[in-house]
């Protein structure tokens, strides 16, 4: 009796695991999804770019890290385009034109992201300003003490 209940419980726990499997295709992956380019220099270029492109299905992984079928298809696009002579930045541009900045992990200055770049500069300027005032003041104090 107990054994049956445990078996039923295990089956119940395993049930949600079965659903994503049903939602997968059974096609072989695209040619360059899991195969490297023959030229090591081109493969290095492709690999560097793939590290900085976001997987659209999994969203917190790069397409180099993800096993999602769509990430495989994106890797195929990257490698096939590198092989055809496109530059990595042109490929990144092609994807950004389709999915927005979102697809790239390489931050670019734009109308929404400029505060990210401006804030550190502003903070450093404020710190320098405070330091100059304080140190300058101390020197004045020193000079006064000596006089």
């Amino acid at each position: 009796m107990i054994r049956w209940m445990i078996a039923a419980l295990l089956a119940l726990i395993a049930l949600p695991l079965a659903v994503p499997v049903l939602g997968q295709d059974s096609m072989p992956p695209a040619p360059y999804a899991y195969n490297q380019l023959d030229d090591p220099r081109l493969e290095a270029e492709a690999a560097a770019l793939m590290q900085t492109l976001r997987c659209l299905k999994c969203q917190s992984q790069s397409i180099a890290d993800s096993d999602a079928p769509m990430a495989g298809d994106m890797r195929h696009q990257v490698r096939a385009r590198i092989l055809a002579g496109e530059s990595p930045e042109a490929i990144r541009g092609w994807l950004i034109a389709r999915y927005g900045d979102y697809v790239s992990y390489e931050p670019a200055v734009s109308s929404t992201t400029w505060p990210l770049f401006a804030t550190p500069v502003l903070v450093i300027l404020i710190v320098v300003g405070v330091l100059v005032r304080r140190l300058g003041k101390r020197r004045d104090d020193d000079a006064e003490a000596k006089a």
């Binding site: 659903v19 096609m27 040619p31 299905k57 769509m70 298809d73």
Partner: protein, 174 residues
């Protein structure tokens, strides 16, 4: 009172901690919208996805606004949207399908079980066209006008409520 500004860093910290706690309770938007709305459909020509219907190409989007449905036989929400695509077809809408990473036998089986609202289905074995139009999953439905411009994107399965919206968008695209 003069030392009040000393509390400022703590107040700032409390503000950001509160903001983070609030955002954690908010639902995350998982959709990645296409940046191709208002852009021309990229050129493509896909082989038929199975024997029963012709393939799909950019050249098929002429004459009147049509729907481009990105789907797959292995996609569960695609089953849910099948009757609503059927309703759109009954309203006189031409739906051109693109089957993602699909086998002819699976496509034929899906259509036999869930109905066929399509006039053409192209087979996109490596998500090439899907990536070219900025679609990030299945199912997605695009409104393409008679000049081949992408006018509207619906992400996820088409529900009963989405049918009037899509009809209105098709009307707007005329």
């Amino acid at each position: 009172m003069r030392k009040l500004y000393l509390w400022l860093p703590l107040a700032l910290f409390a503000f950001f901690a509160g903001l983070a706690a609030y955002m954690l309770t908010q639902e995350k938007d998982q959709f990645v919208e296409s940046a191709m709305i208002g852009q021309p459909l990229p050129a493509f020509a896909l082989e038929p996805a199975f024997d029963g219907l012709p393939g799909a190409a950019k050249a098929d989007f002429t004459g009147k606004p049509k729907l481009l449905n990105i789907w797959a036989s292995w996609c569960l929400p695609c089953i849910a949207e099948a009757p609503h695509l059927e309703a759109l077809k009954r309203s006189g809408v031409e739906i051109i399908g693109i089957a993602i990473r699909d086998k002819p036998a699976d496509v034929a089986n899906f259509l036999a079980r869930h109905g066929n609202p399509y006039t053409r289905i192209g087979s996109d074995r490596i998500s090439e066209v899907q990536l070219a139009i900025g679609s990030s999953g299945v199912p997605e439905t695009f409104v393409i006008d008679a000049k081949g411009m992408i006018r509207y994107q619906h992400i996820g399965d088409v529900g009963a409520d989405d049918v009037p919206t899509l009809l209105a968008e098709l009307e707007k695209a005329k």
